[in-house]
Amino acid sequence: MPAASLAAVRSFVATPPALPAEQFIERPRAFAFKGVGKNFGDKVVLDGIDLEVPVGQFVAVIGKSGCGKSTLLRLLAGLDRPTAGSLTFRAEEKRGGEEQDHSRTRFMFQEPRLLPWASVVKNVEVGLTGIASGTDARQRALDMLAEVGLADRADEWPSVLSGGQKQRVALARALVGHPRILALDEPLGALDALTRIEMQQLLERIWLAQKFTAVLVTHDVAEAVALADRVVVISAGKIALDLDVPVQRPRRRGSAELARLEGTILDRLFG
């Protein structure tokens, strides 16, 4: 079914010369869901999810509230175990093959979840737990803070930062350890429209530089098509639509191309 809808959508969407999806065909898989299901008691939340994501792809996951997006992401980050099927990751180069290891996956929550009793830079250093410590960790954290534009706030308490700044610290914490996979659960949901766009651009810039695999859960269809290489729509516990976004970067917000893709997704969500 996902394959069928993919073909339908591809024929529907005007295709520019280089399909981003084709860039990934040769790339190894970052992770793969194989027939993954998740129940809470009798309640079936996810049912037979098959999803293969190549290394470096930016995937957006959309769906109505309560459809299981966070659940999918929690499985990916190892916060929960699937009740059916399996989940594999690409192993370290030296070992080769695939494995079930979540340690290089980072999670960014809807809330910043900063430690109020640790300075901004100490909070970023949390992202280096088990990777670096001491002055090395501090230096790397400071570099990452500069990346998100908060170098001058390093020694302040998180409580004095604005909501958007807190989320930028959380982003720095997520990225400082150079994760292979970054799972983002509506990290921009609580921000105002302008800060949101700023954060989206920041996220895209860092993603382009670090080339991690990103899985972004969002309610905002415009955000999904603006950022992602691929949009996955979840409905009734299954993947209802798997759509490539073959638009060159940098993308212009509000362009006809993006608007058309947005329409396709909204039709699928409410049609």
């Binding site: 980072r106 809330e111 979840r113 430690l115 009793w117 949390v126 088990g130 409580s159």
Partner: protein
């Protein structure tokens, strides 16, 4: 906040006691307040000077402080350890919490007759009472503090690969600290209260004993002096706890512009 503004604010707090003492002195001198009911502040100051010179005052303060601290250390550390254990382990909580909550409902001073039967008027009796009195506020607030740590932060710590040790020292303990400080300050109050009662009833040294001796010889200035010193010691302990609180909870919004 600058030193001078702090001094200013503290100064306001001291204005009322100074006024009360001045009025009291005036009333005594005018003969409105008979000396056998309440001696003049100057008489109390004289008693203070006399007992300081004889060394009796310092010795008794030393004895009482040592008792208070020893009892506090025993009761506080057991309370803290059990609070941690019960906050972190469901099994430990299941085993002990109900029992502890039952004991908590007995006012610890009601045990005085029993304690005297067990320990006589030896040091153990006072240590036991102080330790018991201090135990509960520390236990209850440590447990409460750990239970109220934001589970979202704990989950965050896990996702970022913190082991149990790191999780405890970087997330759980700092999160519980504000509540632990509430328990600490409450416990310090109970510590002095318990000690006064215990020393008044059964002791052969210490501030409470000094007051009871003075009562027998009708030295009312010494009785009043003992009470004032208890008040000062209590205030001192509370100020120390507040200072510690300010130093370690600098991140807390409540302390950022205090």
């Amino acid at each position: 906040m600058s030193f001078s503004t702090r001094l200013h604010r503290e100064g306001i707090g001291w204005a009322l006691p100074v006024l009360v003492i001045a009025g009291w002195e005036a009333a005594s001198r005018a003969g409105v307040m008979p000396a056998n009911v309440l001696p003049a502040p100057s008489a109390v100051a004289e008693a203070f000077w006399r007992l300081t010179l004889s060394g009796e005052l310092i010795r008794n303060i030393g004895v009482s402080t040592a008792r208070a601290l020893a009892g506090f250390a025993i009761g506080g550390s057991i309370g803290f350890a059990l609070g941690l254990a019960n906050g972190l382990s469901r099994l430990s909580r299941g085993l002990t919490d109900t029992t502890l909550q039952m004991i908590r409902n007995i006012p610890h001073l009601a045990l005085i007759p029993l304690v005297i039967l067990w320990f006589g008027i030896d040091e153990e009796a006072k240590l036991f009472l102080v330790a018991l009195g201090v135990f509960f506020p520390i236990y209850v607030n440590t447990l409460l503090g750990i239970q109220s740590v934001d589970p979202q932060l704990v989950e965050m710590g896990r996702v970022y690969g913190m082991d149990r040790r790191a999780l405890f020292f970087r997330v759980i303990l700092p999160g519980a600290l504000p509540a632990i400080f509430v328990g600490l300050r409450y416990a310090l109050g109970i510590m002095w209260l318990t000690l006064i009662v215990a020393e008044t009833i059964s002791a052969s040294s210490g501030l409470g004993y000094m007051a009871m001796q003075a009562r027998e010889f009708l030295l009312i200035d010494v009785v009043v002096l003992s009470i004032l010193i208890y008040a000062l010691l209590g205030k001192l302990a509370d100020s120390l706890a507040r200072l510690l609180e300010r130093l370690s909870l600098g991140w807390h919004p409540a302390f950022q512009n205090a």
